[in-house]
């Protein structure tokens, strides 16, 4: 390599970055020690899968400005390819160890991204979104037509315990699958982060910001989108492959629009503007799908409400809220505002409790028509047909939201003050 610098340059190790990645690895390593029930380990595995899937989705949405309504096509088809590879490995016709099955899924996802992406990335913006939607419907329709590949209604199931055990690793116990997932998660997250720091990754950001100008600095935007789409398809396929190993069954719903919508929703909730946002979204996705759906039948309704409020009040998602408050903390102003946060939290909970009580009563009336109208909500006995229960709920809701509005005004006021302070502080530091 030619030496372009004539003088020595001091390049310190980025300590903070190593600490963050070390912590991430440590969390992946220790999480099943802390949450060691069967359900938790299974959920942790699903979280790993979801993290890869949401990050690959954000490569399109957050980094490339491509709103895809069909990302599940690539995770889902990755799942199917991986499952067929697993079956072939089981019958001995394909000499692939289970450890590498997710990679086969990745290649599957990539293959279909090469195929479908060629069409969808020809356009950007709304047209792109429409094409992905069409693709998703197309693939879902095909899943019912080609039952040899998709397995029809029952799906395709397999057995992940294939071949000789290697150092005692058979992938029989869930914990071994978890560590396989965790290893893939760590590597994939690192690779996807690395991608954001490469020339293609940066030009992808430029294409998101202003595709027209990119054409005038020598880049073919269509080509940039296509390449990014293929790479995203590869990682999506890996997530799908891991899901196959994890569940040992793949049904047509993995390519369905519901799944695609979930990726969009939770990537957005976590925050598409920061790299780590979709990780938060993915964890929330698994929590919502597994725990919230157990807790209440109306979980999708709550999810919709949360999404609605997020889009309206914090379009940057949870990660942007975190970063805004980290900035505050960096200037030592968090102490000034935390009381307001407590106020917001408590009043929101009260309002939500009232709302939720009514939602639960409506659901109870509609779904359990034969049962008695009595139900227990948050430890309180309610009667869905009595005036008292409804009056109480409305009262709690209105009180909660009324107080919330007051708390919100106080919070906005406090927030403004801190921002003014920070602006002044920045000016002062610049002047130094």
């Amino acid at each position: 390599m030619a030496l372009t610098k004539t003088h020595y340059e001091f390049k310190p190790y980025n300590v903070a970055r190593w600490i963050i990645w070390g912590l991430f690895a440590l969390i992946l390593l220790l999480a099943p020690k802390l949450f060691n029930s069967n359900l938790s380990v299974s959920m942790l595995s699903q979280m790993g899968v979801a993290i890869i899937a949401c990050l690959s989705y954000n490569m399109l949405l957050g980094q490339g400005g491509m709103l895809s309504f069909g990302h599940a096509v690539y995770t889902g088809l990755g799942s199917y390819v991986a499952m067929h590879a697993l079956l072939a490995a089981g019958s001995g016709s394909l000499p692939v160890p289970v450890t590498l099955i997710p990679l086969v899924g990745g290649l599957g996802g990539m293959f279909f991204a090469v195929l479908f992406g060629y069409v969808s990335t020809k356009k950007s913006g709304t047209t792109f979104a429409m094409i992905t939607l069409g693709m998703a419907e197309l693939v879902f329709a095909m899943s019912l037509m080609f039952s040899e590949f998709f397995g029809g209604e029952a799906g395709v199931s397999g057995n992940r315990v294939v071949g000789e055990s290697f150092w005692g690793i058979t992938y029989g116990p869930q914990i071994q699958v978890y560590y396989l997932t965790a290893a893939y998660t760590l590597v994939c997250v690192a690779l996807m982060y690395a991608f954001t720091r490469t020339p293609l990754g940066r030009i992808l950001n430029a294409v998101r910001d202003n595709p027209e100008r990119v054409e005038f600095i020598g880049y073919n935007t269509q080509h940039v989108r296509y390449l990014a789409f293929i790479i995203a398809g590869f990682f999506a396929g890996i997530a799908g492959g891991l899901a196959s190993v994890n569940f040992e069954i793949v049904t047509a719903e993995v390519v369905g629009s519901g799944r695609s919508g979930a990726y969009l929703l939770f990537t957005f909730l976590g925050g598409a503007t920061f790299f780590f946002g979709p990780i938060i979204g993915a964890v929330l996705m698994v929590l919502a799908f597994v725990l919230l759906s157990e807790l209440t039948k109306a979980w999708l309704l709550y999810l919709g409400l949360v999404f609605l409020f997020m889009v309206m009040y914090a379009p940057g998602g949870i990660s942007s809220l975190i970063m805004m408050n980290l900035r505050l903390a960096a200037f030592g102003r968090l102490k000034q505002i935390w009381v307001a946060y407590v106020g917001l939290g408590v009043t929101a909970l009260i309002g939500l409790a009232g709302t939720a009580a009514m939602i639960e009563m409506v659901y109870h009336l509609q779904l359990n028509t034969t049962a008695s109208p009595e139900l227990v909500f948050a430890g309180i006995a309610l009667n869905a047909t009595s005036f008292n229960s409804w009056f109480g709920s409305v009262f709690v809701m209105l009180t909660g939201f009324g107080l919330f509005e007051l708390a919100r005004r106080q919070y906005l006021h406090d927030w403004e003050e801190t921002q003014v302070y920070i602006e002044k502080e920045i000016k002062r530091r610049e002047a130094l």
């Binding site: 372009t4 940066r202 054409e215």
Partner: protein, 254 residues
């Protein structure tokens, strides 16, 4: 040597003729100002040359390459770069990232994703140097969207010249700037386009007569004069069509 040549270029939008047979040959290293009343087709001419629109007929040559009908990125790779009248930058990227994006293709990094940007010393050095030349080095990590208008205009020029194109098209670089800003900005343009072939659309007559070696006057989609500033000033057709107007006279007096 001719750097850029237009041969009987025409452009119709539907039945409306916007450019009605333009012939223009710009020598390498010349600074050409394109002037003309509003709606004369100056910006359309730039859009045709830079590949934003395809001409309806005629030929456009960049050196020995015929470029009409080529895509903007292909024309850019052949060594022609342009700026825009309405600021056209990457709003959510920092000043440094804006400039680094603009040098990547020229330095041969293309679509690679097997190299880290931080290790591309030539790209980083070039972006840093550019940042100093357009005097935005103090704003290195500020997002482009948060810059002042004049700073955004400077960044626009920076992105345009970043790839080191030999032929530079500037579409009203000083549009919307105050008098003092314009003066400083013209000095900047002079510096950064040293030794390049420059075409610029400009309204301020003081700027035009100060900056340009040659002036092309476009009226109703035709070039009615293409000559040195003195000759254009004396041209009867130009005086009648353009400089004769009271507004232009008062501007020319500056």
């Amino acid at each position: 040597m001719i750097a850029l040549e237009l041969k009987n270029v025409r452009k119709n939008f539907g039945k409306t003729e916007i450019i009605r047979g333009v012939d223009l040959a710009v020598q390498a290293g010349e600074r050409v100002a394109i002037i003309g009343p509003n709606g004369a087709g100056k910006s359309t001419l730039f859009n045709l040359i830079s590949g934003r629109f395809e001409p309806s007929s005629g030929e456009i040559w960049l050196g020995e390459h015929r470029i009409d009908g080529k895509k903007p990125f292909e024309i850019n790779r052949l060594g022609l770069s342009r700026s825009f009248q309405i600021t056209n930058i990457f709003p959510k990227l920092s000043v440094f990232e804006n400039l680094r994006c603009a040098v990547l293709w020229k330095l041969g990094y293309k679509y690679t994703f097997f190299k880290f940007l931080a290790d591309l010393e030539d790209a980083n050095d070039r972006a840093e140097a550019l940042m100093e030349r357009i005097r935005l080095d103090k704003k290195r990590d500020v997002l482009a969207v948060n810059l002042t208008y004049a700073e955004q205009r400077a960044l626009e020029i920076g992105i345009t010249i970043a790839g080191g194109a030999d032929v530079v098209l500037l579409d009203e670089p000083t549009a919307g700037m105050s008098k003092s800003e314009t003066k400083r900005f013209i000095q900047l343009i002079r510096e950064v386009t040293e030794g390049k072939t420059l075409l610029t659309v400009e309204h301020d007559m003081g700027v035009v007569f100060g900056l340009a070696d040659k002036i092309a006057v476009v009226v109703y989609g035709e070039v009615i004069a293409f000559d040195t500033p003195e000759a254009v000033r004396a041209n009867a057709k130009v005086q009648e069509a353009y400089l004769g107007s009271a507004v232009a006279e008062s501007q020319a007096a500056h």
